[in-house]
């Protein structure tokens, strides 16, 4: 039984889903943020697997760029979270629901 890239992509899809569920269900900003990272990882896996099937290196290149982007995002995101924490001393987004309606 041979593992086709399809398997990886399906797995990636599931991972992506779990990541999304983290955002939809958790309310700790950090965890939600990690979920985003997880989703990006799932996408990366998709890229690589697809690239292998297509026999294109672009898939792997993309992963590198995504990683850079993710890194930058992490920095900014954590900065924001820290800023929030500094004022409210909490990382739960439920405290941040004043703007609505």
């Amino acid at each position: 039984m041979i593992v086709t890239p399809g398997w990886y992509m399906a797995l990636a899809a599931v991972l992506f889903l779990i990541g999304a569920s983290g955002i939809l269900l958790r309310r700790n900003a950090l965890v939600m943020f990690m979920s985003i990272e997880l989703m990006l990882n799932a996408v990366n896996l998709t890229f690589v697997a697809a690239g292998r099937e297509l026999n294109l290196i672009d898939g792997q290149i993309s992963v590198l760029f995504v990683m850079v982007v993710a890194a930058a995002e992490v920095v900014v995101g954590l900065a924001i979270i820290v800023a929030v924490f500094r004022r409210r001393s909490t990382a739960s987004v439920d405290e941040l629901a004043e703007l609505k309606g």
Binding site: L40, F47, S62, V69, V76, R87, V93, L96, L99
Partner: protein, 484 residues
Amino acid sequence: MNLNALAIAPEAILTLAVVVLLLVDVQFHPGHRWWGMAAGLGLLGATTASVLQWVDFRGADGEAFFSGMMLVDGFSSFAGLVVFPLTGLGLMTAWPLVRRLEGRGAEFVTLVLIAATGAHLMAGAGNLLMLFIGLEVFSISLYVLAGFTRDRADSDEAALKYFLLGGLASAIFLYGVALVFAATGSLSINGIGEYLETTVLLRPGILLAGIALLVVGLGFKVSAAPFHVWAPDVYQGAPGAVTGFLASSAKVAGFAALARVLTVALGARIDDWAPAVAVIAAVSIVIGTLLALAQTDLKRMLAYSSVAHAGFILSAVTAGGAGVPDMWFYVATYAVQVLAAFAVASVVSGPATGRSPLTDYAGLSARSPFLAAMLGLMMLAMGGIPVTAGFVGKVAVFRSAIDAGYLWLVITGVVATVAGLFFYLRVIVLMYMQPAAEVPDSQGARLSVPLGVGIALSVAALVTLLAGLVPWPLLEWLRDALPL
């Protein structure tokens, strides 16, 4: 590999400006005048570069540079012509805030410039990954800007929400890219387009899923319903001086990317996505209008109205490539209007504060006739009253939609326009027909208009009226701004 300095001149110039600005600032702390000068020169240069690109590459037959990463054509150069001056106006209106930020002012200006760069990258990207990077450059700087003032809780709430939801959206978008890549074996927009033109996919499942996710990601950027949820909170929470730039540039960049991806890369699939886009447009128009009716805060109201406008613009996109000029007309003029409206808000409610209750605007015509007139004009323009650019824009997009056979969408649009008039008029009523005395806690003192805001508003008013009275030359140029 076709290297051409002009191809990335705008980005290069702006980046240079950013670097120089930062280095000099770190060394000598020259203060906000220097920031202004550097930013001004950078934007001027970028604009000039875009003008040159426009002159050389106007018309659909653009050229691809950096192995297809950057496309330079009428489309991208026009985007530059819109984005960079817009950024300039945005900075002008934000200047009072910049001065109050003191130390962090340099960072603020830097981020605005980088965001502008990212916006233009989105418009010019010839490769989905490039597009993604530009999108992130643009978004991440906006995340920061949204949370830049720390004197109020709203600001960082806005930032965090924008960041988390933005992250979700870009992840979805990226997944879409990956799926399209898997489905077509290419990341280059033109490449994908050609592939889809030439080959008939027997099993288009992945491609279609990818398109769906791409639309989600881009719909989020242009704040089309139901992906608009972030907009009201972020617009209201972000500092008054930032919101204008945020709202306007996001529309321009987002629609540039959207139009290019849909019409070039997925042009062959128009029958698949056009109906979906039409539905999104209708939903955005209705939701945006209805919810704007219920608002009591100007910035929040404008946020919802911007959702409705996203819907109007999308109805031009339903016509595919044919609709792009009309889309551009609407986007460009609307961006100016929304910037100006938020500029007024930033003066009346304060550049750093987020909330701007409508009661602040009661009797504004007495406290500052200029601001009242400007805001009134913008309201009429957004309401689509003739003699303003808003009317021509509406006619333009409705033309495209009817051309594409979406009469029902147009009828929804016109009816919603009338309902929308209600809240635009309400602002005018407050400003002109209700003396400030009637309303509590509206300080009767005359407002002084900062110079930058004054200039920005005058320019915006000029554009709005000119584009409303004699739109014809502009429309003729726009015919050359096709992405194909």
